[in-house]
């Protein structure tokens, strides 16, 4: 029980520390102004979808000064899962094969419907066998019991890979259950998005990265060293409580003040520099690294995991003849006028898109960032990011004045 108590009172339900950190952030921005001779305007990229969730859920943007923007990166494995993979899963479900999915991918919409279904949720309404689980273990337990042909939709980043790897290496899946590996690797995506930003720097520029904490438990903080070195900006590996995120922002500003661009770990209670070497070994025994398609982004070299030949008896691609996408088949699944690609890469905020909350809204989604309820545009629209909540709070006389 104790770990929860500490985490809650220190990192989650702690207005006092949040205000304290906010004050430090304001002070440090003032000091940067003295140093740079002009008022600093900068972006910090929160790479991971769960960080974006924390920022939104706890209203962190409404606590920060206006000249420091948080911009979401491509770190949501649901949002980057190509439409055609979900279409394949829907097809299986409608053909009577039980599809196990996490809740996230259960509602993820496809670009075009399969026999009338745009998502696994709709496939279930049409009589398809779709079951929502929280882990591959739940699926194994259930599939063993009913013995019918089943597929586990294995989305995720490095964080889920060790679990899948142990299941493959230990041959834990019953014969009737196969794994469809949709695992994506985060460093290539971070490199790609920062590279794009370097080519065409946004205004204001990205001057720091909040790196994904749980991915780093596996890969170690060392995975981000090339990012800090190549792009010359601070990278802080952060936990997922609101105080973790605010602390990470403060640590990024400290590095900027000290003229450093290093990898630092805020999330020391769970992350080490080297990561989990045993897990890394298990992953490379079970999977091989392949070029993979990212929805809204394109084909990224060496950015996905495919099940190795030795374990192909468990591979859903082999069992059901589901081809991996080839580079030449890649079509950007983004409709005209939509800025989703830029939003996914952190080049633009949803509010920069002329369609946002006009032609494109949660009730009438147009681009994939709005279609997926976890997409950045959908999150901003649903929870009032991009200034709406601040405006509301201000209008109601609730907001604390800036500074102190």
């Amino acid at each position: 029980m104790d770990s929860r108590l500490v985490i809650e009172s220190v990192f989650r339900e702690n207005r006092e520390l949040a205000y304290q950190l906010r004050d430090y952030i304001v002070r440090m921005l003032e000091k940067l102004q003295e140093r740079w001779g002009s008022p600093p305007r900068l972006k910090v990229m929160d790479f991971c979808g769960t960080h974006e969730w924390t920022i939104t859920h706890y209203g962190i943007r409404s606590l920060l000064p206006k000249n420091l923007e948080l911009v979401a990166g491509p770190g949501c494995p649901v949002c980057v899962t190509p439409s055609h993979e979900i279409e394949a899963a829907i097809r299986l479900a409608l053909d009577g094969i039980t599809v196990y999915t996490y809740g996230d991918s259960y509602r993820l919409r496809t670009v075009k419907p399969v026999r009338g279904a745009f998502s696994l949720a709709e496939a279930r309404a049409l009589g398809g066998s779709v079951k929502v689980v929280t882990s591959i273990y739940d699926a194994i337990f259930d599939a063993e019991r009913h013995g019918k042909p089943s597929v586990f939709l294995g989305i995720g980043f490095e964080t889920v890979a060790p679990g899948y790897a142990h299941v493959l290496l230990g041959h834990l899946m019953p014969k009737n259950l196969h794994l469809l590996s949709l695992v994506r690797l985060t460093p290539p995506a971070m490199f790609y998005s920062l590279g794009m930003l370097r080519e065409k720097p946004p205004e204001p520029p990205v001057m720091g990265v909040i790196a994904p904490g749980h991915v780093s438990t596996i890969t170690g903080a060392k995975a981000w060293v090339p990012v800090a070195e190549t792009f010359g900006i601070p990278v802080v590996v952060a936990g997922f409580e609101p105080i973790d995120v605010m602390m990470a922002i403060a640590l990024i500003l400290r590095q900027l003040l000290q003229g450093r661009a290093e990898v630092e770990i805020e999330y020391k209670r769970a992350v080490t520099f080297d990561g989990d070497l045993r897990a890394q070994a298990a992953i490379s025994r079970a999977f091989q690294v392949v070029d993979a398609a990212w929805r809204g982004i394109g084909f990224l070299p060496r950015s996905g995991y495919e099940i190795r030949e030795e374990y192909s008896e468990h591979d859903a691609r082999k069992a059901y003849g589901i081809p991996s996408m080839k580079v030449e088949d890649w079509r950007k699944d983004i409709p005209p006028g939509c800025k989703c690609a830029e939003v996914v890469l952190g080049k633009a905020k949803p509010t920069d898109c002329p369609l946002f909350l006009k032609r494109c809204s949660p009730s009438t989604p147009y681009g994939p960032c709005m279609v997926s309820i976890e997409g950045t545009c959908a999150i901003w629209a649903r929870f009032g990011e991009g200034g709406l909540t601040e405006e509301m709070a201000k209008e109601l006389g609730l907001l604390r004045p800036e500074g102190r």
Binding site: A18, A125, V132, T134, T389, E391, M392, L399
Partner: protein, 348 residues
């Protein structure tokens, strides 16, 4: 029609359900109320019919489906009785009589049915509600999942609570929220078969009639209570959004003040589900005149609802009316959106 097929999300008490019901029923009904009463076109717990002597007849109906029918803290029988009693109470009514309609699947054990209906009858008896009629049907195996119970409860009141929160009102909850919803999630996650383990767990439904809270409260503070609702499907978030929309106001909720049991919080966190959307079956949400709000909370405590607290307030804003604004545990703000879709766990 946009949708071709009914989805589970249409039954989650969220945006999808309201749209479907509006389209298929409400918009097609011509006579929506009895003259001088409250009808189908006003979002509230039940309907009102004036009796001509200053009193109103209060009517509320609900169908209950839970699988499995037995769960920690209660069963579908207690739920069916308490749920409809609470709906009448939230209208300011004193529940008097009930009708029940039971649909059972062929092959369902008579002993189990006897237990369920025994629980239902016991709740009606303890709350002094007469059971004056009903219906009983059996469906072929597979045509219905175990058992469905519909109850209609009738009551009377001189002081109906028609939910219209006013600017400045304080939002009060009577106690812990989300308990029932957490149990239902547990069942949906396929753990329903681990009945023995479930009983050992910390999650229990809070299902209970709120007669002992609401009758004295309405008696003492009628007129000061501008709105009352039990936060069932859609949870606290659902009630507050409905109020904000119906009253054209902004509701500001202070997340840190919402009473919630530790295991409910933990379980919701594990699944990545926001507990503010989880149902309660033994809690009330009130919108109360600020001049008596503290007093009302103290009175609720004296009635045995020790966790009653003020969790928010009603504000006016022409520009942002209809929104619920939440102040988070670290003091930031976000919009608390209306419930939509079915609650599913997530990993991202």
């Amino acid at each position: 029609m946009k949708e071709k097929f009914v989805k589970l999300a249409h039954g989650s008490g969220g945006v999808e359900m309201h749209e479907l019901v509006e389209k298929l029923i409400i918009s097609r009904v011509e006579k929506k109320r009895v003259e001088g009463g409250l009808g189908i076109d006003f979002p509230d717990d039940g309907a009102l019919i004036p009796m001509g002597d200053g009193r109103y007849l209060v009517i509320s109906t609900d169908s209950y489906t839970v699988n499995p029918p037995f769960f920690p803290g209660g069963n579908i029988g207690t739920l069916a009785a308490a749920g409809s009693i609470n709906d009448v109470l939230m209208m300011g009514g004193t529940p008097l009589a009930a009708l029940d309609a039971v649909v059972v699947e062929e092959g369902f054990p008579v002993e189990d049915l006897s237990t369920l209906l025994g629980s239902m009858i016991e709740v009606f008896r303890s709350e002094n509600v007469a059971v004056i009629g009903g219906d009983f049907k059996v469906m072929p195996k597979g045509a219905v999942d175990k058992v469905i119970i519909n109850t209609t409860v009738l009551g009377v009141t001189r002081t109906p609570i028609i939910d219209v929160p006013k600017e400045g009102d304080k939002i009060i909850v009577s106690g812990h929220v989300g308990d029932h919803g957490a149990v239902i999630l547990l069942l949906q996650m396929g753990l329903g078969e681990r009945v023995e383990e479930l009983e050992k767990g910390y999650l229990k439904s809070d299902v209970r009639p709120l007669t002992k809270l609401m009758l004295p409260l309405v008696d003492k503070y009628a007129g000061h209570i501008r709105a009352a609702r039990d936060p069932t499907r859609g949870g606290l978030a659902g009630v507050l959004n409905e109020w904000a929309r119906a009253a054209g106001k902004v509701v500001v909720l202070d997340e840190a003040r919402v009473p919630m049991r530790r295991p409910v919080k933990d379980y919701a966190e594990m699944l990545g589900v926001d507990p503010l959307y989880l149902a309660s079956e033994g809690a009330a949400v009130l919108s109360v005149d600020p001049s008596v709000a503290e007093e009302v909370v103290d009175y609720m405590k004296s009635l045995g609802f020790g966790d009653a607290s003020i969790v928010g307030e009603v504000r006016s804003s022409e520009k942002y009316k209809g929104y619920v604004l939440l102040r988070s545990t670290i003091g930031g703000y976000r919009i608390l959106e209306p419930p939509s879709g079915d609650l599913v766990p997530r990993i991202c």
